[in-house]
């Protein structure tokens, strides 16, 4: 799975974000490096929702953060609306970030517990304006209203007075108050109950329409990813495995890892076949010393000598469906 290559990319002038050969590495003790992301290329069209899915440690959150340069990637390029972000100065990047916003997994800890909701949502406006208090209050109220929070009730309260789902709504209001074009959602519903999760997913879809947003949606839950995304990219250990339109991916999974993920999803159907003996507890290989060739080969039932020797390149399956695998599960032309 190690997929590298750029067969799946569209021309830069047709997309909002273009990520090329993104590499993010962190130094750790002993002069070693954690290879969190190793050569990912992706692009995101205007108004598109791109889902990033994979297990913990696959580099999906690191990829999301690298787009907004938090921290800047080790190498590679991120072009947003024609501007190369990796070359910008800190000051220029700050200005740019008004167009790129992010929401996080834990809605309660991402809000300052000592501040009032009205001030939390107004903070981006304090930095970038308008600085007129009445105008700010109007924008904050409008935004809170848009995410389904009653501004009259909420404005003077603090985060602990709200449930997890409401705090996530407030986070969304804060991220949208500057009118960004790209919203990166890092596991925004993983900490929420199923019923609240559905509310937030519906809300994000509505806001996307209303504010013409482009979304990057990061999650480990395949059903959630399918529900919200136009295209889905499956990642494993810092590499791209498969990318396709979301209906296509689930109907014709080509990568063995995608199939593993699909098999693990708990379906609310008592008739579904459950194999209790299938406890193949295989630990994720270390990102400090990842396997040679295809990084998924240590867990893959189809692995061969070729997989250890050579990293698979991204190839087209059909339409906009691409896979990086030597032994894909569906026929790949050429």
């Amino acid at each position: 799975m190690a997929g590298t290559g750029s067969a799946h990319l569209r021309p830069v002038d047709e997309v909002l974000v273009s990520i090329r050969d993104l590499v993010v590495e962190y130094p750790v003790v002993g002069r070693r490096t954690v290879k969190a992301v190793s050569g990912i290329s992706l692009d995101i069209g205007v108004g598109e929702t791109l889902g990033l899915v994979g297990e913990s440690g696959c580099g999906k959150s690191t990829t999301g953060r690298a787009i907004i340069q938090l921290p800047p990637p080790t190498s590679g390029s991120v072009v947003f609306d024609g501007v190369e972000l990796t070359g910008l100065s800190e000051k220029e990047m700050r200005r740019r970030r008004t167009d790129l916003q992010m929401i996080f997994q834990d809605p309660i800890s991402s809000l300052n517990p000592r501040r009032r909701i009205g001030d939390i949502v107004a903070e981006p406006l304090d930095v970038w304006g308008p600085h007129d208090a009445a105008e700010q209050a109007r924008m904050v109220d409008e935004m809170l209203d848009a995410v389904g929070i009653d501004p009259g009730v909420a404005r003077d309260k603090r985060p602990h007075e709200f449930s997890g789902g409401q705090c996530q709504r407030i986070s969304i209001a804060r991220s949208l108050v500057l009118g960004p074009r790209l919203l990166i959602c890092d596991e925004p519903v993983s900490a929420l109950d199923v019923s609240v999760q559905a509310q937030i997913l519906n809300l994000l879809r509505d806001l996307k329409e209303e504010y013409n947003l482009t979304l990057v949606f990061i999650a480990h839950d395949l059903a959630v990813i399918k529900n919200i995304s136009d295209r889905v990219a499956v990642m494993y250990l810092g590499k791209l495995c498969e990318i396709a339109g979301s209906d296509d991916l689930y109907a014709n999974a080509a990568h063995p890892y995608t199939e593993v993920l699909l098999g693990a999803n708990p379906e609310p159907d008592p008739g579904a076949h459950l194999d209790f003996e299938a406890i193949d507890v295989v630990e994720l290989p270390s990102p400090i010393d990842p396997p040679s060739g295809c990084r998924f080969r240590t867990r893959c039932v189809h692995a061969s000598d070729l997989c250890a020797a050579e990293e698979p390149q991204i190839r087209r399956v059909a339409g906009d469906h691409y896979v990086a695998c030597h032994h894909p599960l569906v026929a790949v032309p050429g």
């Binding site: 059903a223 136009d230 708990p266 003996e277 406890i279 193949d280 630990e283």
Partner: protein, 386 residues
């Protein structure tokens, strides 16, 4: 010692003195917390029985009382403001009446628990090996060497690689899934009769969740344990539990053998929970039928049925009078609702509520309030309508 008990059970079963008596029998359990605002009725009148080798799922949203229920039976709700009434009889003894010392002799040996967050439930300062052997040494006075060997066996059994080396590890040196497997090893160490698993996989990845649930299921079957699986996800209980209890606002709203619950769901809340789950089988961008509103205030619960403010089938009677938990034609399947899913009453009130523009009804949208089509078809319709 465990063998003795099993043998004794076989004897008593033979003589018929306790034959047919369930392993755990909970009757009319109530738990309240007294806080400044008043009395929080976290659990109100829950009853169930559980036999050896059986699994029970308890499902509901945050605040439905499912965790408090499990902790009440385990006697883990500490504090002078907690009041628990009713009974929870385990092998002939009412747990709610036992002294702390008696409870302590049951914790680990007979009743064990796996918690949601393995990072906070394990002691960060104590090596894994000692945490696994603590119960064995404490309760059975097992020698250090024998306990160590048992710990290695247990860790191997829960699929921890290099168990001997891992005994020396601290919890922070293990991944989340490995920590949860250590928690399971600790819970299984003294071969308990009942295992409570409180959201054991909520903090974990789907693949790890799958492994942990399979592991729990296998251990439960091999050891003939009874298991209570507490979760907010109906997808987790499907196929993994024999019976399921759906809780809302501290009350049981529906209780049935799990297969029957899914094939013949009667309570609107059970249906709403199932509808709100995104499914892999649905087309992308299917609008989810979220449950509108929030769970009720448990200090001042709404009059009548506590789900009525969020129910698409609500009618006047629901607000005036709380429905009792009554059996269907199958005595094992009980639900508390005046307008059950698929009934003519539900169909009538759904139409009325839709015309009146009630938000909870509009969310469900075109979905037909009828069971004539079956739930699967209704969900498919949701997809087509989106």
């Amino acid at each position: 010692m465990k063998e003795d008990r099993v043998a004794a059970d076989a004897l008593t079963a033979g003589t018929g003195s306790t034959a047919g008596a369930p392993l755990i029998s909970v009757e009319d359990l109530h738990t309240s917390f007294h806080v400044a605002e008043g009395e929080v009725k976290a659990v109100s009148g829950v009853s169930f029985t559980l036999d050896r080798g059986q699994t029970l799922g308890i499902v509901g949203e945050s605040g439905s009382g499912k965790t408090v229920l499990a902790r009440s039976i385990m006697r883990l709700n500490l504090g002078s403001n907690v009041v628990t009434t009713g009974s929870a009889v385990f092998e002939g003894r009412d747990l709610l009446g036992l002294s702390s010392a008696d409870m302590r002799s049951l914790w680990g040996t007979e009743l064990a628990m796996v918690f949601q967050d393995p990072m906070t439930s394990l002691n960060p300062l104590v090596r894994v090996g000692r945490q696994v052997t603590e119960h064995l040494r404490q309760h059975f006075g097992v020698s250090r060497a024998a306990a160590r060997q048992t710990a290695i066996d247990l860790l191997t059994e829960v699929r921890i690689p290099d168990a001997e080396v891992r005994l020396r590890a601290f919890p922070h040196e293990l991944s989340g899934g490995m920590r949860q497997r250590v928690s399971i090893a600790i819970a299984l160490a003294c071969e308990p009769a009942v295992l409570f698993a409180d959201e054991p996989t909520t903090a974990l990845d789907v693949t790890v969740q799958h492994q942990i649930l399979n592991l729990l299921g296998r251990e439960q079957r091999e050891r003939q344990m009874a298991m209570v699986l507490v979760t907010h996800d109906l997808g987790v209980v499907a196929g993994r539990t024999d019976e399921t209890i759906v809780m809302y606002a501290g009350k049981v709203v529906e209780q049935a053998p799990t297969g029957r619950l899914f094939s013949d769901m009667r309570h609107p809340y059970s249906e709403a929970l199932l509808r709100s789950i995104p499914r892999i089988g649905q087309p992308s961008h299917t609008r989810l039928a979220a449950i509108t509103g929030r769970p009720p205030d448990l200090v001042n619960p709404p009059s009548g049925c506590s789900f009525s403010p969020r129910c698409p089938y609500v009618q006047a009677r629901c607000v005036e009078e709380a429905p009792p938990l009554a059996a269907t034609d199958d005595p094992d399947h009980r639900f508390a609702c005046w307008t059950p899913v698929g009934s003519p009453e539900a169909r009538d009130s759904f139409g009325r509520n839709l015309a009146a523009g009630l938000p909870q009804t509009v969310v469900v949208g075109g979905a037909v309030a009828g069971r004539s089509q079956g739930l699967a078809d209704t969900i498919a319709d949701d997809g087509a309508g989106a």
